[in-house]
C-alpha cells in the first residue's frame, strides 16, 4: 500500500472493495478509481492502442489520455472510462483494455518491436493492394484489433432522465475563479447555478498549498462551497459535467448522481443569461524519449494524489517542471509525502531517455553545459506549462489564438453569453483567479443591470516559463492515447499533410476520447519546430461537443421504447378493448387493427370483416381524422383559395370531397368540406396530415390572407367519429332514432345533418363513404363515444354488425381505388396522376394552381394510378413489386415502367388486386405486364385495369 498515514480528503472510517483484473483491492469514499489504484501500488493499468506499450495513470482529471478502463457494475459494463473520472464505489469490477493474454505479458507488445513500420499513414500505404483485399481480408483483421474497450451489447437497465434549469449566471467550474465568481454573483442577488464536474468543490484549491484570507486554500474552498449551498438563489451541482455550449446561453451538462451506479445520469439543459467559464487549465506534458512509461505523471496530478487523496505515487522522484514556482511546490508536496527527490531538472536540460519495462526505473539527461546525468527513480513529475480549458467557448465556432507569451491557445475577449475566466483564459495563480472571477462576475452583473458598473482591473494571463526542456532522439510521444510520436508529426509535414486538419487525420493526433486535451499544444509546437512556422499561424481543428464523452443513454434519457412519443388512444379505445380488438401503432395513435373471434387468425378476421361490411353492416373508428371548424363571412372564399376543386355551389347541409395542393402544385391532402350553415364549414384532413394541414391553414389565414375574415378552430379531439357502413347502414340509422328526416331522399349521399339520436345523444351525421358502401359517419362529442358505440353495437346486432379495424379499412379502400396518404398521395403526384384531373377547377385561382401548370406536371405520359389484377385470375400479386414489360433477365434485372403502392387479397372479388403507378397508365388499360418483387422473390403476370375494382359506377353508395 502506498496510502499515506494521514491527510487527504478521504473517509478512512469506511473501506470500499473493488477488483482490478480480478485482483482484490480497496479504497475509501473520496477516492477515484485512479487514486485507489495508485494507493494499491498499481501504476500499470493499460496497453497503448498501436504499440501495446505499458501505460499508467498520467493525470488526475478528464484530460487523462492513457488510463482507459472498463467498469462493470450491476447495470453492465462501460468501456473507455478514464480512471480519474470514476468515483470509487463498493463492488466495482475494473478491467484493463487492449491486452492479451494479460496486462503484464501482452502478446501485442511484440508489435512495438516493429514499431518503426507502424508510422503515420502505415495503413493507407500498406493495405491498398491487392484491390479487393481490404474488404475481404485486411479490414476484418484490423477492425478486430482496433479501438479500445468492448461495448456491452446487453440491455442497459439503468435509468436516465432529462431536466431543465434556468438562471441569470451559470458558473462552470468551482476552483478559485468559479467560487469567487459564484459568490460575487450570488451576493448581488442573481440566480446562480454552479456546476462542477468533480465530486468535491474547490478545483485546484483541493491540492493547493496556498492560503486565502489567512486560511488554508482547501478550508477556504469548503467554507465558500458551504456558504453557497445555504443561499436560496444558488444551486450547486457537483458531479455535473458541462459538455457543450449551444445558442443563446444554452449549456448542456450531464450529472452523475452520487447514489446509484455510474451509468445512471441526468442530462441537464441549462439556459443562462451569462455563463462564466471557470473550467481552469490543463497541464502540458513534456515530450521526451519514452515519456510514456507508467510512473511518468503530470506534476499537478502528483500533487493532487499526495494532498487530496493521501497517496504516494512513488518513492524516488525526478522533477521535470519548467516553471520555478510550480517546481518548488511539487518538491514540497513530494517531501510532505516522504518521497525522495533524487533530481530536479533545470529548464534547458535535454532529456535523452528513460528506462524500465513495466514501470519507469530511471532517466538520463544532459545539462545545459553538455554534462550527462542519470538517476534511478520510480516517479517522474513533468510539466511544460498550462493550457486554458476554453473548449466550451470554442465550440460555438470562435477561433482560439495561440499566444506566444503563454505558449497556449487562448480565447479572445467576448461579449457573447459565455466568458472564459481564470485558468480558462490563462490566468493561473490562486490570487489572480480569485480576482478574475470577481471581475468577470461584476462585468456580467453590470450588463444584466443587477449591479452598478465597477472599474475592476482584469488580471493579466500568467506568462509561460521562459525556457522549456529539450528532447533527445527516440520515440517521444506527443499524443499518448493514439501513440502519435514526434516523428509521426514530422512525417505528416514531409508528406504534405501540413494543414492542421490533415495532420490530425493523417496521424490521429488529437483524436480519441480525450480529443487531444494534453497533446494538442505540443503537436502545434512540434509542427512549428519542424516547419519553422509561427505557432500563431497554425491554428486548431474544430471544437465540438461533447467536451468529454457522454453516454448515449444520457442523451436519449427516458425516451425509449413506448416512452419515445406519447401514445394517443381514440375515444372508442376502451369500448373496442371490450370487443376484443387487436390494436396497432399507427403514427402517434394506437388504432384498432382487427377484431378476431375465438381461434381466428388475422387473415380470417379480415376476410370475415370485409364480407360482413360488403354484405350487411360494419362499423369503424374514424376519430383520428383531422377536423377543422371554419367560420366567418369569408369562410367560403378562404376554402375556395385553399382547395383546388370548385364547390361554390355547395349548399348548407351538403358536403364535397376536396383536394388540397401544395404551393408547388403537387397534391398535399384530401378530405371533405361540409357546409354546416351559411358561414360555417367543417373540413376534414387525413390522420397523417392533420397537424400539417392545420399549420398550413393557419399560415394562409394569418400570414398570406390576413384580409379574409375567417376563424379557424381545430376540433379534431372534440369529436368521436364512428362510421357505420354496408347495405343495412340506413336501417341501423333508423333504429338509432335520429330526430331529423334521414330518408334516402331527404338525406342523400354527401350530406350532413345535426341532431339527437334517441332524443338525447347529440350527433353530426355525415353521409360519406371510404369503404364504397352506403355509409354514415356519426360524430358525437368525445365524452359520448361509449354511449354511441354501445347503441350502435346493440341495435346493429339485428344485422350482425361487425366492427372492423385498419386492415379491413385498407382492403375496402383498395377495392375502391381510394387514396391513402404516403402510398398514393406520396408528395410527387398531381391531381391528374391520381385520376382526379377533372376535379381541378378552371375558373378560380387556388393555392398550387400556377405551379401545377408547369409543363412537366402537365405531361400526359406521367405515372398514373391504375389497378392491377392477376392475368390468370388467381395468382397472388406480391406486395412491393415493380412493373415491367419484360421478364427478369439472367442478372435479375428488367426495365421498369411503374411500381405497386398496395396489394391485397380481395374477399369480395375472390382474387388478388393491386394499385400502382404506371407510366402513361390511363392509356394502357387491358395491357399485360410483369409485377416483379425481388423481396418476395416472385414475378406475376398482371393486367392493367381501372383503379376502382369494385362497383365502379358507385351504385352501392345509394339506396
Amino acid at each position: 500500500m502506498t496510502r499515506l498515514p494521514q491527510g487527504g480528503l478521504i473517509d478512512r472510517t469506511q473501506t470500499l472493495h473493488f477488483t482490478f483484473d480480478g485482483e482484490q483491492m480497496s479504497g475509501h469514499p473520496g477516492d477515484t478509481v485512479a487514486s485507489a489504484l495508485l494507493a494499491n501500488g498499481r501504476h500499470l493499468v493499460a496497453r497503448s492502442i498501436k504499440y501495446h506499450r505499458p501505460r499508467g495513470i498520467v493525470s488526475a482529471g478528464l484530460e487523462e489520455p492513457s488510463a482507459l478502463l472498463t467498469v462493470t457494475d450491476a447495470t453492465g459494463s462501460t468501456p473507455n472510462l478514464k480512471a480519474p473520472e470514476i468515483t470509487l464505489r463498493d463492488g466495482l469490477q475494473i478491467t484493463s483494455q487492449n491486452n492479451w493474454p494479460a496486462l503484464d505479458r501482452d502478446a501485442g507488445a511484440l508489435l512495438a518491436l516493429g514499431g518503426k513500420t507502424i508510422s503515420a499513414g502505415f495503413y493507407y500505404k500498406t493495405f491498398k493492394w491487392p484491390r479487393d483485399a481490404w474488404h475481404k481480408t485486411y479490414s476484418k483483421i484490423i477492425r478486430r484489433a482496433a479501438g479500445h474497450g468492448q461495448v456491452d451489447p446487453s440491455t442497459n437497465p439503468a435509468l436516465y432522465d432529462k431536466r431543465h434549469r434556468k438562471c441569470d449566471v451559470l458558473v462552470i467550474g468551482s476552483g478559485p475563479t468559479g467560487l469567487s465568481a459564484a459568490i460575487t454573483a450570488a451576493q448581488a442577488g442573481a440566480t446562480v447555478v454552479l456546476v462542477e464536474q468533480d465530486s468535491d468543490l474547490g478545483g485546484s484549491l483541493l491540492q493547493s498549498a496556498d492560503t486565502i484570507d489567512e486560511m488554508p486554500a482547501r478550508e477556504w474552498a469548503k467554507d465558500a462551497a458551504d456558504a453557497l449551498r445555504t443561499l436560496s438563489n444558488v444551486i450547486v451541482m457537483p458531479r455535473t459535467l458541462a459538455f457543450g455550449q449551444y445558442d443563446h446561453g444554452l449549456v448542456q451538462a450531464v450529472e452523475t448522481p452520487q447514489s446509484g451506479s455510474a451509468s445512471t445520469s441526468i442530462l441537464w439543459k441549462i439556459r443562462a443569461q451569462r455563463v462564466i467559464l471557470a473550467a481552469g487549465a490543463i497541464e502540458r506534458p513534456v515530450v521526451f524519449p519514452s515519456n510514456d512509461r507508467p510512473g511518468i505523471m503530470l506534476a499537478n496530478a502528483v500533487r493532487t494524489y499526495i494532498r487530496r487523496f493521501a497517496v504516494a505515487p512513488g518513492r524516488r522522484a525526478v522533477v521535470a517542471v519548467a516553471d520555478e514556482t510550480e517546481r518548488r511546490d511539487t518538491m514540497a508536496a513530494l517531501q510532505e509525502a516522504g518521497i525522495d527527490v533524487v533530481a530536479a531538472l533545470q529548464p534547458g536540460d535535454k532529456i535523452t531517455k528513460t528506462t524500465g519495462r513495466l514501470h519507469v526505473s530511471g532517466i538520463s539527461w544532459r545539462g545545459a553545459n553538455g554534462k550527462r546525468h542519470s538517476a534511478r527513480c520510480d516517479l517522474i513529475c513533468m510539466s511544460a506549462g498550462w493550457m486554458p480549458t476554453a473548449h466550451l467557448f470554442a465550440q460555438k465556432g470562435v477561433r482560439l489564438s495561440f499566444a506566444s507569451e503563454t505558449q497556449s491557445l487562448r480565447p479572445p475577449q467576448s461579449d457573447g453569453p459565455m466568458r472564459p475566466t481564470g485558468g480558462a483564459r490563462g490566468v493561473l495563480t490562486t490570487a489572480d483567479c480569485l480576482a478574475d472571477g470577481k471581475t468577470t462576475a461584476h462585468q456580467v452583473l453590470a450588463e444584466l443591470e443587477m449591479h452598478k458598473h465597477l472599474n475592476l482591473n482584469q488580471p493579466e494571463a500568467t506568462p509561460a516559463p521562459a525556457q522549456g526542456f529539450q528532447t533527445g532522439p527516440g520515440k517521444a510521444f506527443v499524443d499518448l492515447q493514439n501513440d502519435v510520436t514526434r516523428s509521426d508529426v514530422a512525417l505528416a509535414q514531409r508528406e504534405g499533410y501540413c494543414d492542421i486538419e490533415l495532420t490530425k487525420r493523417y496521424t490521429t493526433l488529437g483524436m480519441g476520447t480525450d480529443q487531444g486535451k494534453t497533446s494538442w499544444t505540443n503537436g502545434v509546437l512540434e509542427i512549428a519546430d519542424i516547419t519553422g512556422a509561427n505557432p500563431e499561424t497554425i491554428g486548431h481543428t474544430t471544437y465540438r461537443p461533447p467536451y468529454s464523452p457522454v453516454s448515449i443513454g444520457a442523451l436519449i434519457g427516458a425516451e425509449v421504447g413506448n416512452e419515445m412519443v406519447p401514445t394517443r388512444r381514440t375515444p372508442f379505445h376502451d369500448g373496442f378493448e371490450r370487443l376484443g380488438c387487436v390494436f396497432q401503432t399507427s403514427g402517434d395513435w394506437l388504432y384498432s387493427r382487427y377484431f378476431p373471434t375465438a381461434g381466428e387468425t388475422m387473415m380470417q378476421a379480415i376476410k370475415r370483416e370485409c364480407l360482413a361490411t360488403r354484405n350487411s353492416l360494419g362499423c369503424v373508428d374514424m376519430s383520428t381524422l383531422g377536423k377543422i371548424d371554419v367560420q366567418g363571412p369569408d369562410a367560403l372564399e378562404f376554402l375556395s383559395r385553399l382547395y383546388c376543386n370548385a364547390f361554390a355551389k355547395i349548399q348548407p347541409g351538403r358536403l364535397r370531397y376536396a383536394l388540397m395542393l401544395r404551393e408547388d402544385g403537387y397534391v398535399f391532402d384530401d378530405g371533405t368540406i361540409a357546409r354546416l350553415a351559411e358561414n360555417h364549414y367543417l373540413v376534414t384532413a387525413t390522420t397523417a396530415n392533420s397537424g400539417s394541414v392545420w399549420r398550413h391553414m393557419q399560415k394562409m389565414a394569418q400570414v398570406d390572407w390576413p384580409e379574409l375574415d375567417v376563424t379557424l378552430t381545430s376540433v379534431s379531439d372534440h369529436w368521436a367519429s364512428l362510421a357505420i357502413a354496408g347495405p343495412n347502414a340506413r336501417k341501423l340509422l333508423t333504429a338509432l332514432a335520429p330526430d331529423f328526416d334521414h330518408s334516402s331522399e331527404a338525406f342523400p349521399f354527401a350530406s350532413v345533418r345535426e341532431g339527437l339520436l334517441g332524443g338525447d345523444l347529440p350527433v353530426r351525421v355525415f353521409s360519406v363513404s371510404f369503404s364504397g358502401e352506403l355509409s354514415f359517419e356519426i360524430n358525437t362529442p368525445a365524452g359520448y363515444a361509449d354511449a354511441l358505440l354501445t347503441r350502435v353495437m346493440d341495435l346493429g346486432a339485428e344485422w350482425d354488425i361487425t366492427p372492423y379495424g385498419l386492415e379491413t379499412l385498407d382492403v375496402l379502400r383498395i377495392e375502391k381505388g381510394h387514396l391513402s396518404i404516403g402510398t398514393e398521395i406520396d408528395g410527387r403526384r398531381t391531381p391528374a396522376d391520381l385520376n382526379l384531373g377533372g376535379m381541378v377547377a378552371r375558373k378560380k385561382s387556388f393555392v398550387g394552381g400556377a405551379l401545377l401548370n408547369r409543363p412537366a406536371l402537365q405531361q400526359t405520359d406521367r405515372e398514373q394510378l391504375v389497378g392491377l389484377q392477376p392475368e390468370d385470375g388467381e395468382t397472388s400479386i406480391p406486395y412491393a413489386a415493380h412493373l415491367s414489360q419484360s421478364e427478369l433477365d439472367s442478372k435479375g434485372q428488367a426495365p421498369l415502367c411503374g411500381h405497386l403502392t398496395a396489394a391485397i387479397e380481395s374477399p369480395i372479388l375472390g382474387h388478388s388486386i393491386a394499385l400502382g403507378f404506371l407510366e402513361n397508365g390511363q392509356e394502357r388499360m387491358g395491357e399485360t405486364l410483369w409485377a416483379h418483387s425481388p423481396i418476395a422473390g416472385k414475378s406475376v403476370r398482371v393486367r392493367v385495369t381501372s383503379a376502382c375494382a369494385y362497383d365502379p359506377k358507385g351504385e352501392r353508395l345509394h339506396d
Binding site: D247, L250, E663, R695, K699, S845, A850, L851
Partner: protein
C-alpha cells in the same frame, strides 16, 4: 437551441416552434406560372439577417415573423405578420 421571442408569449425555447421557411412575398394566386416559378424557386439565401416564419406549435399556435442572422443566430426582431388586432 435558439431562444425565440414570441410577440404573444415572450421568450420561448426553439423546441416549442415549427420552422416555416423564409418569409416570402408570394405572388397573387391568379399570377401566371412564370411569375410564381421565379418567386417560389429562385430565392437567394445569403448568410446574414433573414426574415423567417416560425409557428408557435406548443404555445399560441400563431405564425410569427422572426428576423434572424443566419450566420450568428442572433435574433434581431420578431413580430406578428399582420396588423389586424384580435378582438376577444
Amino acid at each position: 437551441m435558439l431562444l425565440i421571442p414570441c410577440p404573444h408569449c415572450g421568450l420561448r425555447d426553439e423546441g416549442e416552434f415549427t420552422y416555416g421557411g423564409p418569409a416570402r412575398t408570394l405572388p397573387a394566386l391568379d399570377q401566371d406560372t412564370q411569375v410564381w416559378r421565379d418567386a417560389f424557386f429562385a430565392g437567394q439565401k445569403p448568410p446574414g439577417p433573414m426574415t423567417e416564419l416560425w409557428y408557435h406549435t406548443s404555445g399560441c399556435e400563431s405564425w410569427i415573423e422572426v428576423t434572424r442572422d443566419t450566420a450568428t443566430h442572433d435574433i434581431l426582431n420578431s413580430n406578428t405578420p399582420q396588423s389586424k388586432v384580435d378582438t376577444p
